[in-house]
């Protein structure tokens, strides 16, 4: 509101947002057709999406987009009209065309160069469906020219009865034309204008047409009321009047005709150039006898009922005198605002993301402030039952509610992301000649907008991997007794306060012996390493690992699964693999709902206060020396119930102190790993469980493994937020040895 924004730029921005929605509808519609679930409305939805994109693009002069969308629309219109049926081939082209529209929208938005070659190829593909009815290069029809306005047209009909005045627009009451007394032109025209019945049915008004003519020059109007029946026999919709108009003007005949454009075909219209110079005073044609000639400057009386419906809605334009003179039974002016009530229900506000960011940050501050306040109130020794304390409790609850609500603003369904993936599947499967079907589940699942944006790249990579490496070639699939078409499932769901996104394929599964061999060949693991299946699968995430023996078009882009894992971890997420030979693999990504707050466990290690994500902590234990067993120097495990869990000395690994030797009384947290195994994290003390606001560590900080972010505690102290899995994984990697088997079985002291 405060900014002086260019309204056009704003509409343009909102057009591109609308385009995203329309593209989504377009994809959805095509997908529905692909699924064989289309009904008659589906194609209309698809058509309208393209049509609306074209319409908006035209308004902003986005030529390339208009041209392509128009051609696409033409083909879709053929389908809509039943002249073209969608077969597999057509659908494929439609999908490509939809993708291309999507590209063009982005190109137009970002001002990049239009990929004309690609457009041409696709237009060619689309044109195939049009057969020989390929449209000519669509000439934009010229826009309609309208003459400038203004009026003073007074008619004097002596034989018109006064009692009919109510039904007529009060022309006198209209504002005077801006340039009345227009230049007297040098051409004279005689215009014969005889309205027919349809003219009134379409809401056209002869008086307004005459008014427009009056603007063009010197006008003399003759009204023929000879066919006017008695008043009691008048049908309002049937015109009874006709006019002969003499116009002295310097405008072209075409412009005069343009005035009558809307009524063309609804009236008899003859425009004749009068011969002789300025002979506009004389009668020039052998018309039927007409009523007295009216001079525009003469005194006024209303025309007879111009066969208009009894309550022409002229009132708003007419100043008071007109209304007074016209005891019009038309409705009293309505409270216009009330009418917009139905719109309010689905109203949407577009808010700049920066403003939401600011709100999120402020709420973050509020949470911190509230924590500080409760801390100081607690220290002040107030009774927990005092008003202040119970008020504080309420304050705490409200703060949390506000925080949740603010987070909801940022939440978005993953649908747009998933739609991009279906495109990736289409493109990548075509590139490697595999027939792949993508099944999408839970696309309505809402996730923080930033998370969605930052998921696009890793997800793209994983989908490509699934198509390229996960699924076998059709021949191999058939040989293995599977259908030739491979399936990739992409799902999203909320699970215990996190979002889980799974990508699974029904391919051959991970070839573990080969993965192991490659890892050994590349020196990533010792040749004699004994690894569990899960550990072998996890080798895929090691930097520098690539399984494709033949680098295809899709892989070999210099991005490996290690990069995928890093980006997921940067989002506070985890990624895991499960794979069954011959049945396929599933990659599972678990993400926090938001990047802004975290339920944390505040711990103390060697005098330092740290925060751990609470959801990772499975169990807490107090140790005694007997619980700890040494596997080899620097590698200890603890016995938990029936199994063993590797012990990880947090203080030592962060360099705060030497490794503990005496474990009596020490506290360990059992941390859940993504593969459902556990690691015991050795700490000194647990201080608190609370919600903390995540403050990102920007690039000016060195990125230390295991440190995810920082937060400000209630007492104003800064604490680091740990990412234990990252830390543990890194500790394992630096040793160039796999951490001891994470499953508790198989290790004995």
């Amino acid at each position: 509101m405060s900014e002086e924004n260019d309204p056009m730029a704003e509409i343009r921005a909102s057009f591109f947002i609308e385009c995203e929605e329309l593209l989504e509808a377009l994809q959805d519609g095509l997908q529905t057709i692909d699924d064989g679930a289309a009904d008659s409305e589906t194609i209309n939805v698809v058509f309208r999406a393209v049509h609306s994109i074209k319409g908006g693009a035209g308004a902003f002069g986005l030529e390339a987009l208009v041209r392509f969308a128009h051609r696409f629309e033409t083909v879709l219109d053929e389908v809509r009209a039943g002249r073209l049926t969608i077969d597999d081939e057509a659908l494929k082209v439609f999908f490509q065309a939809a993708d291309h529209v999507s590209d063009l929208v982005r190109i137009c938005r970002d001002g990049a160069d239009a990929p004309d070659a690609e457009t041409a190829v696709l237009i060619g593909a689309l044109d195939q469906f049009l057969g020989d009815t390929v449209p000519e290069e669509d000439a934009e029809e010229p826009e309609i020219e309208f003459a400038p306005m203004g009026l003073s047209l007074d008619l004097d009909l002596s034989d018109a009865s006064d009692e009919t005045e109510a039904a007529c627009p009060d022309l006198d009451a209209l504002p005077p034309p801006p340039d009345f007394g227009a230049p007297t032109g040098d051409t004279a025209y005689t215009i014969t204008f005889i309205p027919q019945a349809e003219m009134f049915e379409t809401g056209n008004e002869p008086a307004l047409l005459l008014r427009n003519l009056s603007q063009m020059g010197d006008l003399k109007v003759t009204c023929d009321a000879s066919t006017l029946p008695d008043l009691d026999k008048i049908t309002p919709e049937v015109p009874h009047l006709s006019w002969t108009i003499h116009l002295q003007t310097d405008v072209e005949e075409a412009e005069i005709r343009s005035i009558f454009e809307f009524v063309e075909g609804l009236c008899v219209l003859e425009i004749a150039r009068e011969t002789g110079d300025g002979g506009s005073d004389g009668d020039t044609t052998d018309e039927t006898p007409v009523s007295p000639i009216v001079d525009i400057s003469s005194e006024t009386v209303n025309t007879p009922p111009p066969a208009r419906p009894p309550d022409p809605p002229q009132a708003p334009t007419a100043p008071k005198p007109a209304q007074a003179a016209a005891p019009n039974p038309a409705e009293p002016s309505q409270p216009a605002r009330a009418a917009t009530a139905p719109t309010a229900a689905k109203s949407v506000v577009r808010v700049d993301l920066d403003r939401i960011e600011r709100l999120v940050n402020l709420v973050g501050e509020l949470v911190i402030n509230q924590a500080m306040l409760s801390q100081s109130l607690e220290q002040s020794g107030l009774s927990p039952h005092s008003d202040a304390m119970s008020g504080l409790e309420e304050f705490q609850r409200l703060t949390r509610d506000i925080q949740d609500s603010v987070m909801m603003i940022r939440a978005q369904p993953v649908k747009s992301l998933f739609q991009r993936m279906s495109r990736i599947v289409r493109e990548s499967s075509a590139a490697v000649s595999k027939d792949v079907r993508l099944n999408v589940i839970g696309e309505g699942t809402e996730v923080d907008k930033t998370v969605i944006e930052r998921l696009a790249d890793p997800l793209t990579h994983m989908i490509r991997n699934a198509v390229d490496h996960g699924l076998e070639t059709p021949e191999k699939r058939i040989a293995a007794g599977k259908p030739a078409q491979g399936q990739i499932n992409l799902s999203a769901a909320h699970r215990s306060g996190r979002v889980v996104i799974e990508i699974s394929d029904d391919g051959a599964g991970i070839n573990r012996p080969r993965v192991l061999q490659i890892a050994i060949d590349k020196g990533l693991i010792p040749a004699d390493a004994q690894l569990s299946d899960t550990e072998i699968d996890n080798l895929l995430f090691l930097p520098g690992f690539s399984t494709a023996s033949v680098v295809s078009d899709l892989s070999g882009r210099g991005v490996g699964m290690d990069v995928v894992r890093t980006s997921i971890q940067a989002l506070g997420g985890r990624i895991t693999i499960t794979s069954n030979p011959g049945e396929g693999s599933t990659f599972s990504i678990s993400l926090p709902l938001t990047l802004a707050v975290l339920d944390g466990m505040v711990i103390k290690v060697a005098g330092e206060t740290l925060v751990l994500p609470l959801n990772l902590v499975v169990e807490t234990l107090t140790l005694s020396n007997q619980d700890v067993q040494m596997v080899r120097p620097g590698n200890q495990v603890i016995e938990v119930r029936s199994g063993f869990v590797p012990l990880f000395d947090l203080g030592a690994s962060l360099g705060y102190r030497e490794p503990l030797q005496n474990f009596d009384g020490a506290v360990v947290l059992l941390i859940a790993q993504e593969d459902e195994s556990c690691t015991a994290l050795l700490i000194d003390n647990i201080l608190d469980q609370r919600q903390v606001v995540i403050k990102g560590l920007d690039d000016s900080f060195h990125r230390a493994p295991g440190i995810a972010a920082a937060t400000i505690l209630g007492d104003g102290q800064i604490a680091l937020i740990l990412d234990p899995s990252d830390m543990i994984a890194n500790a394992g990697a630096t040793a160039l040895a796999p951490s001891p088997p994470l499953k508790t079985q198989g290790v004995s002291a």
Partner: protein, 121 residues
Amino acid sequence: MSLEILAVDDSRTMRDMIRLALLPSGFTVHTADDGVHGIEVLEGIQPDAIITDINMPRMDGFGFIDAVREQDKHRGTPILVLTTEAAPELKKRARDAGATGWIVKPFDPEKLVKALQMVAG
């Protein structure tokens, strides 16, 4: 002269554009998202003119014009059709339904104002 206009279009961009084009002339602009919504909005207002798109969900422009003309109080309300095509048969269909005139998209704001003034005074 200030007119009260109802603009019916399923594209938010178009509705915004129409509003932007008409507000400087002091017009009062109501909007509706499709034909059905347009009829709802029309219940509470008596606009001087109506602008409508043709391709819309739920009720298209032709259906909307029909429905408007069926109402006695709107039998004579000028209706302009906003269309991307200026094909004669489309104009004819619009007119048969009772449209007063048509504007080809993309429209020039000035011309839209003039067209409205021409049909609605």
